[in-house]
Symmetry: D2
Subunit: 383 residues, 4 copies
């Protein structure tokens, strides 16, 4: 590991591009980051992965993760949720550091196995909750930790999208419980729950009790005839419609150990919202509001002030901003990946733990699981 | 009743002023409204009610509602929640029309008695859910009823205030379960639940199942020494602190008969929000957003459009606006009282029913009660 | 004058209603205001003025202002701009106080005569620049005067409406130079210039130099056939179209004595804006933003803060708010008239001067005139 | 030129990083772009340029542009405004394509020489007005060109920053007329004027007449003692303060050939604005609003709609977006450089002209010059 970290990446579509881009940008903007070699790109569809290898700047490709996980310094698991566990565990057991996309797994059992594997390994294991690395969110965290909001009373987290509101929108692996575990809950809710834990956890404690609700608005969706690529996974019989076995939306209400209360919600049916991950936090002294669609901004109510202040979190002493551009020259969604890759790879190079860890991923999974149990049992659930 | 409607009003503080002002403004702006005589103002504190009688333009005052309810054409019950039932029922039994502030009662039992009294009376009974009479809300209702939002998927209603966030804010009757029934739930949540029923009820059906959560952040509050006026009611022993026996905040999640899901929340601890009653509704074709702090505006997502349109609902053909000012000359919170008084008094004069009725008030009370039961039992409740 | 002030009002349409409403509301909300009797309503169209007299709560009407101005304590001149001078001067010469709508006159000469008449009279003369009486604007003024913005650098004032963007919108007296003097400039720009003077005058001095630009987008407009009422004035030959002899929009740039610079603009062609009177002020320590369409809000950048704070100017210690409702219960456009009538009538009752005075009206007129001269001469103009 | 375009870049600070990053990102996101070799980085300070060469991924460096401009396929001129002309002209004369930062030059004479050199050369010459390449701006352009706004009436362009509001902010070359030509006018106003020309030029024609105003609020500024780097240029005597010879702010009003009118303004003293480049356009059928601080959004008023629609311009068929991320995954300021480099380099590879051209740069310079002349002469200026 003396010269540069060799990286093997499973997944070459949306997340593959996001992480490959992040790796490519580190030398220019984070020169202190460890050197990284984009070594192997992994995917099952040889033609597609070969083409992506070229475009994303990898040295070679593989169609079998088992050939890779022991041969690289770092393994990125960006595959569908149901292939998170085995490759990640194999890598960790081989002493390879692992960066895994969220949610940690498609079942709580797999998440537990992954957490245990991370505990047992000397390698670094991280989960890619990228929204922790938005400058505005880190600035929010600093405000909360320094006590500027006082005692936390309310947390309100919603993640609203609308890409499934059309009942003719095609079926994909994200609609399949076998692959995804859950729908909006695991895909979007995982982000919200993690963000809530990250932001208020040190002041408000963990979520200790919750009540959840899952909803599927459209029960089956058309399947493009045998076109595997358009399904983004390799299922692919050519039936006409396929059952949606996950939630299109969830809601939850929760309490934190120190007395704060919360509501959470996510939907793929929120007509008019493209990627609106919002969190609002109210404390005894101040409050915060954030929306991902305006990710450079944080609304802050400070003690003694009369209203929310719209802060453009692009000043040189804001988190990560000194690496980028002058004040007001806004950054984008993809920059969160650069930041998290910088932090993760630095931890790997130093042989340290990374936060958020697999333990964090497991805790989120526990809460997602509790929401599902609460929904099926019609009762509040203690966590 | 041939000449003008004589009105007796119980309550002369906040709500008393709001309704007296509405009555006073009708002739100039709603000349087609029935003529009204502000006859009797009712209150227990003779000195205070006498002064208010003068300022609010009433002919005389009384310290006993029993002397009034049979002698006027219309009785306005604007007292604390626990004095809603008896005077209103007495009035209805005497054939006097009744306009009662919300929530209908401090207990479900009283609400039921009031609903039954209204059913049995030929007089008109209305509950003063004034937010139904905001032009932007009525415009929203028109959009929903005409199908412009399609099938309703999501309802999100919050009513956020911050006037109790200071633990030294004084105790008042609104913190007393005996008088108020509940706290943020009954005071604020009643508005939200009514608004949700009003807006989507005809498309989404009634709320049929819900899970609720109540929270009291500050358990006791200082009592100003024996100063009854500052308590806004006549309790008044001079103890140092008094127990808060109601909720400071509530959250709920719910489902509607036709499949929509909802979250609701209210708080008196939402630091930075003064009177932020917000409702968001997403349907299969379009969506809406509204906030009371910007009550002249409605955010509308229309079918085929790319984002929310900020509509200033002040055009001449918007509801009630032809009675007021040219486009863009915004109206205020108090105008909702003029509108609801116009509608209620017109119904009285015509001998017709008023909407929202005591039945509507009862339905809301049922839902508030279900939220409380769900909270205490830790279970979802069918309504 | 011992008992109540008798008031004669010329004009019974838009402004007549706005002021009559203000007078009617004073006793309930400003009990300390002098008592007022709505004595005589004045208009040329006897049938219309008779009907308005009834609806607006006046005791009698007159079709000739000359019969009235000497017989009342206060004369309100709400007529078209070209009838501001003579009746107001006659009233003042008779010792009757005068409240005149803006702009002060349709020509600078008339404005000068009016100012001189006010100087020579012991009666009180006021001009109805109502936007000075918005709570948010007065709060802004307090911030500026107390130095919270520091030295003023920038003023940016726009008044944008869109009611003439349709070329088929009918001709009215507001399009006629003979009656109105100017178009958007006098009707809207007068407000902006006055607001700028009011807000920054004590810090930045007077406007001492400016460059202006007037524009008429549509040169002639259809005239409804002989229907005088729809023209809101008594011209009324039944031609098919009539020439627009005023500006549809103006722009200006200006400098203040103490070094601040400004831009001003108004338009009746700003598609999408209904009544958007906005002012932005930037100083060495802080800044402000205001828009009339959200008149309860002020955006404030305070020294040391990182962004604009959205202040809902509805707290009990905000200007005038203690007369109205609790925090967050927003007021409307018409409340500005209540406030200005309260101030003006109090000045009358005390025999004091009112601000804004006819002198203020004259100063604004001078600046409007300078903008017109600059436009026609193509040069900057010193004032 | 058969294999890849060799690029020499003069300037390695802010703009150098922005363009180097853009070049580096093209292969992954715009695989159809011509291949580019970051060959030579040029700067006077050898130590600094050597370090930047490494970080920005160039093959070698040079301290003399004369050694480079004839040896590369493309020359990027990112130096201070007064070194735009000679190197660019030399390159063009050598047949090397040139991409030059804005404004085109520090004087109109130099701009004219550059335009002529571009005309006389077969190489491609482009000016880096990057804001033309914001997806929201290009979407706006499409709306205007397709007639959705109708006839253009109003243009309102402001570029507001606050980095000089502190009088102790250090002097830099941007405060020096010799180097920069002008201040806010050339640095920020050039962007606004170009954007206005780009957006409405095809509908409204060119600006044909204008009146301008320049203002310097702080006449001299401290100079960090002989520290050339902190001045970002090579002046560097160690005096204590140095005179500010450019404007801190400008305003202008203008008319377009087809009748639209406009106001323009820029400031480095607009407390609270970091990089707020805003443009508002109103037409007979629709209107637009844009702010750079929310560069993913466009506010659109469409014909027949009731208010501005907030469009998140991140859909797959929005300009350039198919190269990036799914809807709602916002891009940043730097992406504008990727887009403009893609377009410029594609033009170079095809041997075509690039828009915006040096001619466009010259036209903007003419208008900047006219603003300065108008300010000094106190008259409107025909262009």
């Amino acid at each position: 590991m003396s010269e540069s970290l060799s990286v093997g990446v499973l997944g070459y579509r949306f997340m593959g591009r996001a992480h490959a881009n992040a790796l490519a940008r580190l030398p220019m903007f984070f020169p202190e980051a460890p050197a990284v070699e984009r070594s192997v790109l992994i995917g099952r569809d040889e033609e597609a992965v070969a083409e992506a290898t070229d475009q994303l700047g990898f040295s070679e490709y593989s169609t079998d993760w088992e050939d890779v996980v022991g041969d690289v310094d770092v393994f990125y698991n960006l595959g569908p949720n149901n292939v998170h566990a085995d490759p990640s565990i194999a890598a960790l057991e081989a002493g390879t550091s692992v960066f895994c996309e969220k949610p940690l797994a498609h079942t709580l059992e797999d998440a537990e196995r992954m957490r245990d594997a991370a505990r047992d390994s000397d390698a670094t294991a991280g989960i890619a909750f990228n929204y922790r690395f938005i400058p505005a969110i880190r600035y929010a965290k600093e405000l909360i930790d320094s006590g500027e909001l006082g005692e936390i009373h309310h947390v309100r987290g919603t993640y609203l999208q609308d890409w499934l509101v059309d009942p003719e929108a095609p079926w994909s692996w994200r609609n399949d419980e076998e692959v995804a575990g859950s729908g909006a809950l695991g895909d979007l809710g995982a982000h919200t729950i993690d963000l809530a834990r990250f932001l208020v956890g040190d002041r408000a404690g963990e979520i200790d009790r919750l009540s959840g609700h899952l909803k599927t608005f459209v029960d089956e969706r058309p399947v493009p005839g045998g076109d595997e690529a358009s399904l983004e996974s390799g299922g692919g019989e050519s039936t006409e419609t396929r059952e949606v076995t996950v939630d299109d939306a969830y809601t939850a209400q929760a309490s934190f150990e120190e007395g704060a209360i919360a509501t959470f919600e996510a939907s793929r049916f929120a007509n008019g919202r493209k990627n609106d991950h919002s969190i609002e936090i109210e404390g005894s002294k101040g409050s915060l509001k954030f929306s991902l669609e305006r990710l450079n901004e944080l609304e802050v109510l400070r003690e003694g002030s009369r209203g929310y202040e719209t802060v453009l979190v692009t000043d040189p002493d804001d988190p990560y901003i000194d690496h980028w551009w002058p004040p007001g020259h806004v950054i984008g969604w993809e920059h969160t990946f650069v930041h998290e890759n910088y932090e993760f790879l630095s931890a790997v190079a130093e042989g340290e733990e990374h936060t958020p860890s697999f333990e964090d991923g497991y805790r989120v999974q526990e809460l997602l699981d509790a929401i599902e149990r609460s929904d099926s049992e019609g009762e509040w659930v203690d966590v």
